[in-house]
Amino acid sequence: MATLVKRNHWVVRLTHWVNVLAVVIMAGSGMRIFNAHPAFARPGERFPLNPWEGTPIPPWLTFGAWLGGARHWHFAMMWLLVLNGLVYLGFLFFHGEWRDIVPRRGDARDAWEMLRFYLFVRRDHPHQGKHNALQKSAYFAMPVLGIIIVLSGLAIWKPVTLGFITALFVNYKWARFVHFVAMALLIVLALVHVFMVFTVDPYSLRAIVTGWYDRARSPEARNARPFYHLFGSARESTAPREVPPA
């Protein structure tokens, strides 16, 4: 039985890896820029929403060496990030793949069942399509966060010339805060994504490089949780079987 399927179109694979490069450089240089003033309060004011006001990001997590250098990287790489994002979103729209990630009715219930499975409350992997419901919501949240990051980025890059975008986020200070928080959420999602790839579905690595995916080794087929049933393929079915004809 042919279980090998083409899972990811080359546009998706290419934009995925370009995005890795762009997001790593954008986040690293962004955090270096942040470290020039690692707070959200205006001088003389307080910002109780951030319990770490004044605490810089560890320098080894940053990129660009100095404020001016990080700004150059940030304002160069933003074009790659935006163009790549537009290619990806345009492809999703015109090729119909948006259906794989846009939430639909029933996703909340399916996500709850996935959570129950991951927490050992439920024994068997819920039935799923291309992605499970938790995965789907993460893959949907990422471009949404990306759009928020780009808009809030424009708001703090050009707070006067593009003041109407800044006004969407109330003002410069809040746009900067939204830009930072959305970046942090995106990084958390990306880290969870990488963790799940290696502990639940390492076979998906092949699908994001060559495009090919072995459905017999899908997490559903292996009944795989993080670190559980990492190897092997489709289980014997536990469904009642008819007595074979004599």
Binding site: G44, W73, V160
Partner: protein, 236 residues
């Protein structure tokens, strides 16, 4: 030659890893070239987006930074104009103009006064509000009759060798002032007395404090921070 999918991916991967390599300080010169190219491109985009009608709006009820407004300078000590040694402070408006001006503080205060509460955007990421009073640079240009050669403006200071040059469009923005008042008082030595450049349309490092000269020029001549690698345009 047709480029099939496999070949396309190989080329993409090769150019991508090339970009990565240059990013890793292995070939910093190539990275620098790429970044310089991006900076030029960004400046063109910023200049195309720039409008004199796009203003910085700060609500009348918004609090001002007041005493918390950051005090910064280049020299080790607060620069203070020494009248005994240098004579009465004057603002020189010269260069590509038909009528060069040399204005005392009293002369400056007789010109049409603008008072505006605006943001000060620092390259470091903070912004601070103050109410500035002064004269529009565009009014100075009109008074001095700047010629068609005036494409850039250099703002010189007596704080060491600090100066920054601007594009004409940003200098002529209605919110770009030669300010002598801050929050209702004459400018203090910590904030650039007797007069400084202040505008929300450029980052703080472009806004010359301790101003001495406004020189209209056909070409730009860099600036203190731009020469150290910060963007020359530095627009907001």
């Amino acid at each position: 030659m047709s480029v099939d999918r496999r070949r396309f991916l190989t080329i993409s991967a090769a150019s991508l890893s090339g970009a990565l390599l240059s990013a890793c300080n292995k070939n910093p010169e190539r990275a620098q070239k790429l970044l310089a190219l991006a900076e030029r491109g960004n400046q063109r985009v910023e200049e195309a987006l720039f409008r004199h009608t796009a203003m910085n709006h700060v609500s009348p009820s918004a609090p001002i930074a007041g005493a918390s407004f950051p005090k910064y300078r280049i020299s080790k000590t607060v620069p203070i104009w020494d009248t005994a040694a240098r004579g009465v402070w004057r603002l020189e408006v010269s260069g590509a103009v038909r009528r060069p001006l040399s204005l005392t503080l009293d002369d400056l205060m007789k010109l049409p006064r603008i008072t505006q509460k605006v943001d000060h955007f620092c390259v470091e990421g903070w912004n601070a509000r103050a109410t500035w009073s002064g004269v529009r640079v565009s009014d100075l240009a009109r008074a001095a009759q700047a010629t068609d050669d005036a494409q850039f403006v250099d703002f010189t200071s007596f704080d060491e060798d600090y100066h920054e040059s601007w594009d004409m469009a940003s200098a002529m923005h209605p919110q770009t002032l030669v300010a002598y008042g801050m929050d209702g008082y004459l400018l203090g030595p910590a904030h650039g007395a007797p007069a400084r450049l202040h505008s929300p349309v450029k980052l703080g490092y472009k806004n010359t404090k301790y101003l001495t000269r406004v020189v209209f020029m056909p070409v730009q001549n860099g600036g203190y921070w731009s020469d150290q690698g910060y963007e020359w345009y530095g627009g907001t």
